[in-house]
């Protein structure tokens, strides 16, 4: 729906954009990100986040507005950008006039220098105002330029900024995989070489133009292939994908593999919670309990330290026991909440999660669980006598767990039980009236979810070789729930995407770690507003198939 905006409304938008970037500045986010230079000597990630808000506001406003001719949106973009700079200008003048750090400790000289481009306040302010104005015009121009230019432009921007953001990690990978020579060409210091950045930008731009023109005929060719050939092609694709997954540690190197392992641990938990929350609609906020139980059972059974049963269990015998114990707890903790729904269920499960942690910390079981000290000296998994120590080796243990969980979750989803869960989620009373036993349906969901989480916890304990009660706090449950929501509630591929975004990305952008919860909060709010169904929503399977039948109906 196109609208017309009055000047006052446009200025309000600009002030709103300014408020956003002002708050990002005063909490120290911008200055922190400024340490990550993207393109050598040009700009940093801090600059990107500085202009992101005026860009977004200018883009959205000009997209929604009604106009004739191109001058109006460009002018609007400029006003929004320029107005957005005012709060920052006020801030930089204040910083000169008074000791503002008394009130806002994060307004550092580095931030002020960033805002004024190292110039005097007056000149710096003019520059900032102009920069923001130009960014506004730039954002507005996205709504004016034709699609065949916009698409390549967006692609080139996203890809160039993307590789620039991760240049530190890419650099080490390029060095070990492709040699030092190439590193010098692509990077300069820890950031992207300006010349390479330009070449890369142009290359992506050019390729996208070519693809937009030629891609259709290519796709047509693919569609016209004989069914047998097409099947071969898709088989080839899946074999390729499997090979990539199998050899991923070689490509990623040990640091990134470690990140992948952490993501995998969360994927495992996510797949379990996705059954409880996503399929069956039972909001469980104490999900970390089963993760802790899996980890503790593994720790107690295998630890070589002073604690533990000293039973001499190996990883592989302790693993199924951990899963079974977690599953049993899933059922035991499920029974009291059978009659609860929604908020009540959430509160009670939240309590259960905390109880498990408090029990682990308490002196009651100090002799076996180690109290606040936790359990140490848990051996790493062994595989035919080889101890799996390196991230690249542990990767396969995590991978096996994830594959097993995906397999079971998919098969259950497509079965009668999966349909029971979804019916339960949609309308509990009607589901019961369909003849299904609610008790067993709910307990199956709790048990399966707990089993996956227990498996995850057991692998986690063995991977870390030590566990402490404080690592099983509420935040883990919240993280897992958030990743499901971001990925798409009830969607199995969504769990992977959610875990990559919420667990993988913060590990790669270590600057984010401090602001992780803030970013989660903002991300969840933005998701709920913009894409409530998640990044990769659940697709219901087509079962009646036959598109002809649909056509028939439409004609009637």
């Amino acid at each position: 729906m196109k609208k017309t905006f009055t000047t006052k409304e446009i200025i309000n938008k600009g002030l709103l954009a300014g408020a956003v970037v002002l708050s990002l500045s005063v909490i120290g986010f911008i200055a922190l990100l400024a340490e990550r230079e993207l393109i050598k000597g040009w700009f940093s990630l801090g600059h990107i986040f500085l202009v992101a808000s005026p860009f977004a506001f200018a883009y959205v406003t000009t997209r929604d507005m009604e106009y004739e001719g191109n001058a109006k949106p460009l002018q609007t973009g400029f006003i929004i950008g320029a107005v957005a700079s005012i709060p920052l200008i006020v801030l930089s003048f204040l910083a000169v006039a008074i000791d503002i750090r008394q009130f806002l400790s994060n307004v550092s000289p580095a931030l002020i220098e960033l805002l004024t481009f190292g110039q005097t306040p007056v000149l710096g302010s003019i520059l900032l105002l102009l920069l923001f104005g130009i960014i506004g015009v730039f954002a507005a121009s996205f709504n004016i330029i034709p699609e065949n230019i916009r698409h390549p432009l967006v692609n080139a921007l996203v890809w160039t900024l993307g590789i620039a953001t991760f240049s530190e990690i890419l650099l080490s990978r390029v060095r070990s995989l492709l040699g030092r020579g190439l590193v010098k060409v692509i990077f300069s210091g820890k950031s992207l070489n300006p010349i390479f950045a330009i070449v890369f930008f142009a290359a992506v731009f050019g390729f996208t133009i070519w693809w937009d023109k030629r891609g259709d005929s290519f796709k047509e060719k693919l569609e016209n292939l004989a069914p047998a050939k097409r099947k071969q092609l898709s088989q080839g694709q899946s074999i390729l994908l499997m090979l990539v997954i199998l050899f991923l540690p070689l490509i990623l190197g040990s640091y990134l593999t470690e990140v992948a392992n952490n993501v995998g641990i969360y994927i495992l938990m996510g797949l379990g919670l996705n059954i409880v929350v996503g399929f069956a609609g039972l909001l469980d906020l104490g999900y970390v309990a089963f993760f802790a139980i899996g980890a503790y059972v593994m720790g107690v059974l295998t630890s070589e330290g002073a604690l533990g049963l000293d039973a001499g269990f190996s990883f592989w015998t302790a693993l199924p026991i951990s899963v079974i114990v977690a599953t049993l707890f899933g059922i035991v903790l499920g029974i009291p909440v059978l009659g609860m729904r929604g908020d009540y269920l959430a509160i009670v499960t939240l309590g259960f999660g905390e109880i498990i942690r408090v029990v682990a910390v308490s002196d009651l079981f100090k002799d076996t669980l180690g109290g606040a000290q936790g359990i140490l000296q848990i051996p790493k998994p062994e595989f035919f006598g080889i101890e799996l120590v390196q991230p690249g080796e542990l990767y396969y243990v995590v991978l096996a767990g994830v594959l097993l969980a995906v397999f079971i979750a998919t098969r259950l989803r497509d079965s009668r039980l999966g349909r029971q869960w979804m019916a339960l989620r949609e309308d509990e009373d009607v589901a019961e009236a369909m003849g299904m036993n609610l008790v067993s349906t709910k307990l199956m969901a709790f048990a399966t979810g707990a089993a996956f989480s227990g498996l995850s916890g057991a692998i986690f304990a063995s991977k870390l070789t030590s566990i402490f009660p404080h690592s099983f706090n509420l935040l883990i449950s919240i993280n897992v729930l958030s990743l499901i929501i971001v990925g798409g509630v009830g969607s199995i591929p969504g769990v992977f995407v959610g875990a990559l975004v919420l667990v993988g990305l913060p590990e790669l952008l270590r600057e984010f770690a401090e602001y992780r919860l803030l970013i989660y909060g903002v991300l969840l709010i933005v998701m709920m507003l913009v894409k409530p169904e998640g990044l990769l929503p659940d697709q219901r399977k087509k079962r009646e198939l036959k598109s002809e039948a649909e056509l028939d109906w439409a004609e009637k």
Partner: protein, 266 residues
């Protein structure tokens, strides 16, 4: 013809309020009959007592050869062979039409979840048969080709039909329809009326309706019970009900009955 459902002295109290007051009906096998009454008379509460959503405070509900079903859980009642639809459509809205019907078939699916994980032959066969049956039901209610749409994306009339298909999927002996024509225009109502009759004739089940639309009720019911303030105030054939002054009074208020009678007399 035998009696398939018989309620004896069924009473439901909510605190001091008597929603259903010793209501007694005998539903004949393979018949179409209706419970009618003004808004708030307690019809849906009565349905809820039969289907296990509520436990009647007093009374007996006897279904299909002396089985007492009062106080059973909804799933147990369904297993006995009673199925229902709802006054406000209650489909599983984020599942496809086919999946809704598949859930309805729950009672007849036997494979264990372990078999689902290993995709045993028995599981695959059962799923295929269930899908076939679901598509057959979908076609039976006239929703061919809409099977893969999410239930909440279907047009209103289609949702009503889908709800009936889902209820039929459990192969019930008795089908309870709670205001099936609510929100429909006269043409749709008449169409549905024909469909209900066809249902009885072709599937051979007993149908008990709650209905407001007098045209529908009088058109297809063989027997009617009239409820007001939880009590049965009349019973009989449509013709008898139409002439009953108590019924007219309940619907139009006291005083109206005499006026109406006069009109008829003239």
């Amino acid at each position: 013809m035998g009696i398939i459902l018989s309620t004896k002295n069924v009473t439901k109290r909510f605190g001091g309020l008597i929603a259903v007051n010793s209501f007694e009906i005998d539903v004949k096998e393979n018949s179409i009959s209706s419970v009618i009454g003004p808004n708030g008379a307690g019809k849906t509460t009565f349905f809820n007592c039969i289907t296990g959503f509520y436990t009647p405070t007093e009374g007996e509900i006897i279904f299909d050869e002396n089985q007492h079903i009062q106080g059973l859980r909804p799933d147990q009642v369904t297993l006995k062979g009673i199925s229902r639809t709802y006054q406000n459509i209650r489909l599983f809205s984020k599942m496809t039409a086919i999946e809704n019907i598949l859930v309805g078939q729950h009672r007849h699916l036997k494979t264990h979840w372990v078999e689902a994980i290993f995709k045993t032959k028995r599981f695959v066969k059962e799923e295929e048969e269930a899908l076939e049956e679901a598509i057959r039901l979908l076609n039976f209610v006239g929703l061919n080709g809409l099977g893969d749409h999410l239930a909440h994306n279907l047009p209103y009339g289609a949702q009503r039909r889908l709800e009936i298909a889902r209820a039929l999927a459990s192969k019930p002996k008795l089908l309870l329809l709670d205001e099936p024509t609510a929100g429909m225009n006269p043409n749709e109502s008449i169409e549905l009326m024909h469909f209900i009759r066809q249902l009885r004739d072709e599937v051979g089940i007993t149908i008990l309706l709650i209905e407001h639309d007098m045209k529908v009720v009088m058109g297809i019911s063989e027997e009617i019970w009239v409820m007001d303030f939880g009590q049965k105030i009349a019973e009989g054939t449509p013709l008898e009900i139409q002439r009953n002054p108590k019924v007219i009074e309940a619907y139009l208020g006291s005083g109206a009955a005499s006026g109406l009678n006069l009109e008829q007399g003239e």
